[in-house]
């Protein structure tokens, strides 16, 4: 029982990371119908920049973990804007249906290469800002950092939701997501909204990067698998549902930890992908995705 609890807790922490990255996929998909396939690299860059500010890799540490977070968020936002401007805007403008897929993948590879050259190919340890002694919750050992992952992830998604519902700028983002042309008629600069959604998307990935870095290893290749699995989560949960990515993320996280323990760590990626295939076959809009009904 304790072991099961342990696996559940670890699964939830891992799942929340997937959820935050998947949330980023949703954000750009909603406003522009495009996705940043370099989300994993955005996460990695966030973690590497965080490590450079907070760790001793590039002559640091320059500041503590908590001061570093806002700077990493800012970096993530700028990086997302760059991806939008270089990779996505031209594709949207030329009405190229799939151009953005290649360009965001290409930018992701470029970012990974740049990171390998700056920080090397080896994984580096990330200093933990919280005590590393586990706390006991319901019979399971939970790292304080794992709690921080869950709280931070939920907090970020909550803040974005409040922004979308309460502020006029957030309402403009939602309006752009539901009808870009009509939003333009309201005086909303929809290209700017799309750029903003890319900033938000990479910012969430960078945030996920600094949340997860202290409990894993940090390196140029850390993002690839995370980005892919978070994409599976976005599909499982539904590309339009905020609740869906949380449920989808936690489902996948728990599926991985339990398979890893009861079956074999070699198979831990299988159940999530089987789940993905099942969802695609049975409910392609995702567990929580809505099939849009248009009233004429």
């Amino acid at each position: 029982m304790d072991i099961l609890m342990q696996l559940l807790m670890s699964g939830i922490a891992l799942g929340m990371i997937y959820a935050v990255i998947a949330f980023g996929y949703q954000s750009t998909f909603a406003t522009s119908g495009t996705l940043n396939f370099g989300q994993g690299e955005a996460l990695m860059l966030g973690a590497m920049v965080g490590l450079s500010l907070n760790g001793d890799v590039l002559g640091g540490p320059y500041m503590n973990y908590w001061l570093m977070i806002p700077l990493v968020l800012l970096f993530g936002a700028l990086q997302g804007m760059l991806v939008e401007f270089v990779g996505v805007r031209p594709a949207i403008k030329s009405k190229s249906e799939f151009g953005w897929i290649m360009s965001t993948i290409a930018l992701g590879i470029i970012f990974r290469n740049v990171a390998e050259n700056i920080w090397g190919r080896d994984d580096l340890p990330f200093p933990s800002p919280l005590p590393t002694a586990p706390i006991h919750i319901l019979g399971a050992n939970v790292l304080p950092m794992e709690l921080m992952v869950v709280v931070g992830a939920l907090l970020m998604m909550l803040l974005v939701e409040v922004f979308n519902r309460r502020s006029i700028y957030g309402k403009a983002v939602v309006a752009t997501a539901s009808d870009r042309d009509a939003a333009g008629l309201m005086g909303i600069n929809t290209s700017l909204v799309i750029m903003f959604s890319y900033a938000l998307s990479s910012m969430s990935a960078a945030f996920a990067g600094v949340l997860i870095a202290p409990i894993t290893l940090t390196g140029a290749s850390m993002g690839a698998v995370l980005g892919l699995k978070a994409f599976a989560v976005a599909i499982i949960g539904g590309l339009t549902s905020g609740l869906g990515v949380i449920v989808g993320g936690v489902l996948l996280g728990i599926a991985e930890t339990t398979t890893g323990f009861y079956l074999s760590t070699g198979y831990k990626d299988v159940p999530g992908l089987v789940l993905l295939l099942l969802v695609l076959a049975i409910k392609p809009s995702g567990l929580f995705g809505k099939t849009t009904i248009k009233k004429v």
Binding site: Y169, V174, D181, L185, M186, G187, I188, N189, V296
Partner: protein, 244 residues
């Protein structure tokens, strides 16, 4: 107020507007009538920036707005209630109205804020049904209510020129009457309007001036009263409209 010179527009290779000119003077209601596919909605879309014109010139309040993106044209004071209503279905009626006032609420908005609460109150007075449904999601409204919302939302821009595209489309006869009654009230308030309508008789009844569009060209134009009594217009549009 709004001048259109030799406007041309195309969807891909298909040219829809072959150079039309029309003029909407301040404080007047001008209507554009014509059969399906004549290019009425295309004209509206080209004026508001939803569609980039392929030729010609559009001048709003003395400024050349040809080819500007829609959001910049809105900031100069043009509101467009588009064909098919296009309300934001996942947001409340109130949020839809606030989005209509986006250019007055935001930093780069460029439209004076003015009496926002007063305008909201007046819009809801004009459409009492919306007042009852302020907190309802726009997607759950009936077709007629969505049309009212689209018009109210456009009014929230406090526009210099209001474009209304087929405000009566798909509505029950009693609601069509109500929509035209409201257009009459807006006219009495001095709002400059360009109105596209299938119900040509009703449109010419409320308008000061009318243009008849045929296959992307202006066929006839003149004061609304004159068009109403024009035998050719009567035969082609007024009799036809009644049978719909």
């Amino acid at each position: 107020m709004l001048e259109i010179h030799d406007l041309k527009a195309a969807y891909g290779q298909v040219q829809v507007l072959h150079g039309i000119s029309l003029n909407v003077p301040q404080g007047q209601v001008v209507t554009l009538i014509g059969s399906n596919g004549a290019g009425k909605t295309t004209t509206m879309r080209a004026v508001s920036g939803m569609l980039r014109p392929s030729g010609g010139r559009i001048v709003l309040r003395g400024r050349d707005i040809t080819g500007l993106p829609a959001h910049r044209i809105a900031k100069i004071g043009l509101a467009h209630s588009p064909e098919g209503r296009r309300v934001f279905p996942t947001q409340s009626v109130r949020d839809n109205l606030m989005l209509g006032a986006f250019t007055r609420l935001t930093l780069g908005g460029k439209r004076p804020r003015g009496d926002l609460q007063g305008d909201l109150g007046r819009a809801l007075d004009l459409f009492p049904r919306l007042r009852e449904r302020q907190n309802q999601l726009a997607g759950t409204l009936s077709g007629g209510e969505q049309q009212m919302l689209a018009m109210a939302r456009a009014l929230m821009l406090n526009p210099e020129v209001l474009l209304l595209d087929e405000p009566s489309m798909g509505l029950a006869p009693i609601l069509v009457e109500e929509v035209f009654h409201i257009i009459g009230r807006l006219k009495a308030q001095g709002i400059t309007m360009l109105l596209v309508e299938q119900f040509a008789a009703a449109a010419l009844g409320v308008a000061d001036y009318g243009y008849v569009l045929e296959n992307g060209r202006i066929a006839v134009h003149g004061p609304a009263a004159q068009l109403r009594s024009d035998p050719k217009v009567q035969a082609a549009y007024l009799g036809g409209a009644a049978s719909h």
